[in-house]
């Protein structure tokens, strides 16, 4: 099994996408929690921002990250011809 250039591109693109999404995940989780005390000063609809993020906001970001990944990778599969055939 020999990998072609397009295969290598596919994998590189996947790695970049994964890295970017993990960076967003990291900020929404650890950076947010690290600065929770100053962030609590900001209020949105009654919630201190850090409480809102930890209870709801970051969760929404997680769902969005995973949804985006599924869509983007589908596209990536098709562009590089590595999509699955109809499963047997």
């Amino acid at each position: 099994m020999q990998l072609t250039q397009t295969h290598i591109d596919y994998w590189q693109k996947n790695l970049r996408l994964t890295a970017v999404l993990l960076a967003i995940w990291f900020v929404a989780t650890f950076v947010m929690a690290w600065f929770a005390i100053p962030l609590a000063e900001i209020k949105i609809f009654g919630w201190p921002l850090s409480f809102y993020m930890a209870a709801q906001g970051s969760l929404i970001i997680y769902v969005a990250i995973i949804g985006y990944y599924a869509i983007a990778m589908r596209k990536n599969d098709l562009e590089h011809g590595v999509q699955e055939g109809e499963e047997d």
Binding site: H7, Y62, V63
Partner: protein, 689 residues
């Protein structure tokens, strides 16, 4: 086959729509029966029997003797349904019953679990699920075995899988026992075995296939049961039926109320009484052994005085109990007084500010609190991405793309409950702070009296300063009551309480099923078939798998009936252990071709070793069990977050040892390419049969 997969999905949708409709009808009929006078006990029984029969029906319909059906549900579970099944698999009794209570008691700090148990799915989606699906065998040790070659890594995988899953399953069966005994009045031990029967009917005949389809059914029940009372409570306090969107305003009012209560003179009076009690207990302890006799004489004399004065019976009884219960020796007295002191000292402080992150008396306390928040988030996330019973679910989808989409649905369905729990905690707290605190003892809401009668550890309100009015400092509340009592707090009929119990039961049963199957499969597939008898016929393999499932279930139920303490800690520990043992080897196996067999072996040992070492030397119960010498906590991190050390050590070890040992063979490199691409021309086939 593509069209048949489509029609299969259509069919599933039809079945589960009917099922949901039928269930709603059932609850409605029961509600009508309640109005006509059906007793609460019978409502409890009906829910228990009906739901277990339902699961049994699905289990029997899904029976199978085919290997791929038994281990991975035939690899044709559509993403949407696999998402629901994963949701039920994931959300345990601790999530359903305990989560909102933890948030009630710990405020912001408890949100670390909410974040950790959802954010972990990002790691599952990005780093594991699609690749494991492409690999396409049956268990997690399967992947470790194939990627790192040989039975050593596989056996470590088996051991680690059993270690984490077993601690976790005991907690689930415990939850089943508690729920059944509470809502039907059966004894705890009997409740455990009723629960065991419930678990086995789901999994015994059909393995993963049966577990998958019952889990979907269980998810529907648990999410409906969780939402109804919260929506009602939200209408009661805000007038809006979407609690998640509007509880910010309630939180603001709650924060105001906390401030009032902190400076309220009556509250301060009660807190002062507790401070005095703590001080008195402390004096008694310091005065030992002399104080022992003094105190003993004092209680005896009090009883005599009361008898002489012909005091009311209640006072006499209390005095008599004090004499009878007086510690038998100075040592016992010391233990009891220390406990008294701790209990009183715990109630001397003002209410915890619910919305404030990392409250603490000084900078250092706040920093430690923040570090522990981050630690719990880290361990819960990496543990999520390493628990075999969850990862295993992504073997069951029809394709790699479906696996990706399936993680999305999984998290979506889990999110529905987890973003509701903080709302519930705030609403319930607001209810207690405004409608219970400040009322006269003679005019307490009905639910308070009802739950006090059931279990004093869940709710206990005593008039400490004898003013006839409830102060916040006079309330002791157990976390589990928040979910269990919400229907009554919201003023709903008993049938909803029954529904909540059924939901809790569904959560515990579904998780227990997934875990038991993981343990039994590790033994039957990895140990028996892959290592002991590779020539076993499919019939033999299924027979062995089912027999082992039975044995493991009975052992787990037996261990549960011994009531091992500190179950919540054990659940947390399972996450740290799974993260340390599996995460580095799994992820590096996919993303780094150079990761070698010896690297993986060393990494698993080092990661898990550090994690266990830290727990065994910092967690009081373990120190007691194993007789280890306690060490100072590293950076003040709690033992539950031991994975914070285990995971990086595991990664580093794999990295260093891999570079020191020969690179993996060409076959292994091809395997890595194989899992990285959904489809490859001239590809190898690793699908398990």
């Amino acid at each position: 086959m593509a069209t048949s997969q489509k029609s299969f999905t259509q069919q599933l949708k039809k079945y589960y729509t009917f099922y949901t409709g039928g269930f709603v009808l059932f609850v409605t009929l029961l509600a009508i029966a309640e109005q006509m006078g059906l007793s609460t006990k019978w409502i409890g029984y009906t829910f228990l029997v009906f739901t277990i029969l339902l699961y049994a029906g699905i289990g029997i319909m899904s029976r199978t003797v085919e290997v791929a059906e038994y281990y991975v549900a035939g690899r044709r579970v559509p993403a949407f349904f696999n998402g629901m099944a994963t949701g039920a698999d994931w959300m345990s009794a601790a999530s359903f019953i305990g989560m909102a209570g933890t948030l009630y008691l710990t405020g912001f700090q408890g949100l670390s679990f909410i974040m950790g148990w959802t954010g972990g799915y990002v790691l599952v989606a990005l780093l594991l699920a699609p690749y494991l699906r492409k690999f396409g065998q049956f268990t997690i040790p399967d992947f470790l075995g194939a990627r790192y070659g040989g039975n050593i890594v596989r056996s470590f995988g088996v051991m680690a899988a059993i270690l984490c899953s077993f601690t976790y399953v005991v907690a689930q069966i415990y939850g089943v026992g508690v729920i059944t005994s509470r809502f039907t009045g059966l004894e705890f031990g009997i409740g455990v075995f009723v629960g065991l029967a419930g678990i086995l009917v789901c999994s015994f005949l059909g393995g993963m296939r049966a577990v998958t389809w019952t889990q979907v059914a269980q998810y529907i029940i648990l999410i409906v049961a969780y939402m109804i009372p919260v929506v009602w409570l939200s209408v009661k306090h805000t007038g809006v039926p979407i609690p998640q969107a509007v509880y910010g305003g309630v939180l603001e009012r709650l924060t105001e109320r906390e401030k009032q209560l902190t400076s309220d003179p009556k509250e301060q009076e009660v807190r002062k009484i507790f401070a005095d009690r703590a001080k008195a207990a402390d004096d008694k302890i310091k005065g030992l052994p002399a104080t022992y006799q003094v105190e003993k004489d004092a209680v005896t004399k009090k009883l005599e005085d009361l008898r002489a004065a012909n005091a009311p019976k209640a006072d006499l009884d209390a005095a008599e109990a004090a004499v009878k219960g007086f510690p038998a020796s100075p040592d016992a007295a010391k233990a009891k007084w220390t406990a008294d002191k701790g209990a009183a000292a715990g109630r001397t402080g003002p209410p915890l500010p619910h919305a404030t992150p990392y409250p603490g008396k000084d900078e250092k306390a706040r920093d430690t609190s923040r570090l522990n928040f981050l630690g719990v988030v880290f361990c819960m996330m990496f543990g999520t991405a390493a628990l075999p019973h969850i990862l295993m679910r992504y073997y069951t989808t029809p394709s790699v793309q479906e696996a990706r989409v399936s993680v999305f649905w999984s998290l979506f369905f889990i999110f529905l409950l987890y973003f509701t729990a903080p709302a519930l905690a705030v609403l319930a707290k607001f209810d207690v702070y405004t409608l219970v605190v400040g009322t006269k003892f003679s005019e307490l809401p009905a639910w308070v009296n009802a739950w006090q009668a059931v279990d004093r550890t869940l709710l206990n309100i005593t008039d400490i300063n004898k003013d006839g009015i409830v102060q916040l400092a006079e309330i002791v509340i157990g976390g589990d009551i928040i979910v269990l009592a919400t229907p009554e707090i919201a003023g709903l009929p008993y049938v909803i309480s029954g529904l909540v119990a059924a939901g809790g039961l569904a959560a515990a049963l579904s998780t227990a099923d997934g875990l038991l199957l993981t343990i039994a499969n590790a033994l039957s597939h990895d140990l028996y078939y892959k290592m002991i008898n590779p020539n076993a016929s499919p019939t033999m393999r299924i027979t062995v798998a089912k027999a082992l499932l039975l044995v493991v279930a009975v052992i787990a139920a037996y261990v549960t009936s011994l009531k091992p303490g500190n179950i919540l800690f054990l659940v947390g520990a399972a996450f740290s252990m799974a993260a340390s043992a599996f995460f580095p080897a799994l992820v590096m196996g996919i993303f780094w071709k150079r990761a070698s067999k010896w690297g993986a072996i060393a990494g698993i040992i080092a990661g898990l070793g550090v994690c266990l070492y830290y727990m065994v030397h910092t967690y009081p119960t373990f120190i007691q069990w194993f007789g280890t010498t306690p060490i100072t906590k590293w950076f003040g991190l709690d033992p539950i977050s031991a994975g914070v050390f285990g995971v990086p050590v595991g990664i580093l070890t794999i990295w260093i040892v891999s570079l020191l040992t020969p690179a993996p063979s060409k076959d292994v490199q091809e395997l890595v390419d194989h899992v990285r691409y959904p489809s490859l021309t001239g590809d190898i086939d690793t699908k398990g049969t």
